[in-house]
């Protein structure tokens, strides 16, 4: 984690705001690769929040890091904190850039499909693709024009309430062999795009998606940490990982969104039903492992190896 100063806060659309962070001494920040995200730490009263946001600034520009945050009034509070309480001049802690949505540079062509705020990881990738002189096609889908957060001359804009929805089958069918597909947006959109691509015979290795799962709330439940000899209650609006951290139990993590695999934890006993919400575990692992960053539990008691 590095301490950076929030130097600029600019609205990009009614719900999306851009935040720029710079080193307090003006020192250059580590460069990164397009599609990378950073973890932003927010001290929201006595709750410590950590949310992942895609970096939208040019990856080769170490003068500052920029992210775009969409306000989610139904969310757990991270985006509300950024919109309401984060103010220029504030010092905040950010993690190192991590890329779980990198470009496959062996691709003949890159097809990028963004839904709404899902445009963010592509904003870091576009300068990279331009520099490489790579062939790419960017489809930017929004419901209405006021959702558009950035003006992208190279993109094809699809606005559904103006009747210019993307013809998914047409777009997927028109790609040369060797094209890689990247999709970022809502869970529903990602599922729809990947389903169609699979049905049309795209190879699985050519399909890439990124969805940051915010740990969804649920009923409180009890978890016993066998190694640390502690039993905790995970609150309704808390993730199991956050509960472990609050109890001072050391638990690894990287994405906090069910995608990277780093928080994988062995289940030692399970008197109830695990509510798996990650994109990581295989079906045959789901009875003996859990990803505490997003997944929950319903029942009497869950015992884990932490």
């Amino acid at each position: 984690m590095i301490q950076l100063r929030l130097t600029d806060k600019t609205p990009l659309s009614p719900r999306i705001t851009r935040f720029r962070f710079q080193h307090p001494d003006g020192a250059p920040l580590p460069v990164f690769s397009g599609g990378a995200h950073v973890m932003v730490e927010m001290q929201d009263g006595d709750i410590l929040r950590r949310n992942a946001y895609s970096l939208i600034s040019d990856p080769q520009d170490g003068s500052g890091y920029e992210i775009a945050v969409q306000r989610e009034d139904q969310g757990r509070g991270g985006s509300r904190f950024m919109h309401e309480q984060a103010q220029p001049g504030m010092l905040m802690r950010l993690g190192q850039p991590v890329n779980l949505f990198g470009l496959n540079l062996t691709a003949r062509k890159h097809l990028l499909i963004a839904g709404g705020v899902g445009i963010t990881p592509f904003l870091g990738q576009i300068p990279e693709l331009d520099r490489l002189g790579a062939d790419y096609e960017l489809r930017y889908c929004v419901r209405s024009r006021d959702e558009v957060a950035v003006d992208l001359p190279g993109a094809q804009l699809h606005v559904s309430d103006e009747g210019s929805r993307m013809d998914l089958d047409g777009v997927l069918g028109a790609q040369p062999i060797g094209t890689h597909l990247y999709v970022c947006g809502s869970a529903r959109m990602i599922a729809a795009v990947l389903d169609r691509a699979t049905a049309l015979g795209w190879p699985p290795d050519a399909l890439h998606s990124e969805e940051f799962l915010a740990p969804a709330p649920g009923e409180p439940f009890d978890v016993h940490c066998a190694r640390s000899h502690k039993t905790l209650t995970v609150g309704a609006h808390q993730s199991m990982l956050e509960a472990l951290e609050a109890a001072g139990i050391d638990a690894p993590w990287l994405c906090r969104g069910g995608a990277c695999g780093q928080c994988e934890t062995d289940v030692l006993a399970c008197d109830g039903q695990i509510d798996h919400r990650d994109h990581w575990l295989h079906d045959d692992e789901r009875n003996r492992k859990i990803m505490p960053c997003v997944s929950r539990f319903r029942g009497q008691l869950l015992t884990i190896d932490r």
Binding site: P30, V31, F32, S33, G35, A36, P59, Q60, Q96, P97, V98, N99, G102, N104, L105, T106, L132, D205, L254, C260, G261, Q262
Partner: protein, 346 residues
Amino acid sequence: MTITFNKESFRGDYSYHNSATAIRRFPFPFDRDEYMYSVNMEPHKGGRPGSVFEARFDVDEHYVAEMEDRAITLSRDPMRCQSLPHMTLAGWDVLELIMTSKAQDYPDLFELHRDGNRWRWVNRPLGIDDTFTFLDETTLPYGPMEYITRQTQGDFAVLDQREGNLWMDAGMVTSQADWSLDFDIGMNFFEWHAPVPRAAEMGIFQRALKFLLNIQQDTPARRLNWTMTVNPRLDTSPETYPEWGPEKRSLTPENLGQKQYLRVELQSFWRLPRSNGLLFPIRCYLISLQDLVTVPKWGRRFHRVIRDLPEDLATYKGFIVNRPMIVDYLSRFDDGAPTSPGIWPD
């Protein structure tokens, strides 16, 4: 820190030698009196002052001679350095990482001056003073990875990360312990580990891959690996086996202490920021058994390790034929006294 660079060779008359300082700082890889294969990773964040773990890219008395040996190998076989077309950006990552690290860690030997993308690189030991444009290949005499690894000890594998796997898509490999870049190029993590014995240990590789995929920009990792070589030869590649293979049979009880070498690899793992690739440097350290046993703890321990090593591992490490002779030699330096924990000399 001043280093006097040795005049020495890694072939022909094999005049390679270690000074007293080099012996004391040798990365002896055994922290107990037995050896079992494991992944044993730790953070690569410095280490004991003077040890090979202190700098990010260790430079020692063998630097100049090793770079001369690399140039000879490359002139005979240019395929020892390869980079698939999509790996150029990763090559610049490697160049940037090594230049910035060396200029900071050894300011009296290396200098890097950056003015935007206009860079000047000074390498005093090798007498290089070049100015070039960062990210513009035409301004360097070689591709960026080749340019900087002709000036850096150790072999280098540059791995592309995609499809949840790692791919050996570029590298500079002139001092390998019997593997071939030309054979492995383009392979993924599991394919290039295929010759390791005991398939039952596959789980170790799955865990290792997961660990590597999660290496972050500010948290490089390292581990030690080891094998044995007859003569201080860097280029023990499959391609040149006819040159060095027969040397194994030149060992006698009289010359063993001088000709049999322990070869230790300091492997490190770095996330490359611009390309999201991984850099895997494999730095090789060589010590003759007669030098090794001058540290009494190491003499005792090495005897026990070699004596008790399972048959298949001794075969895999390539010294099964000579093991009885080696154990016989080492037994003279093992009085049976207990050894202290850890790798360091007492």
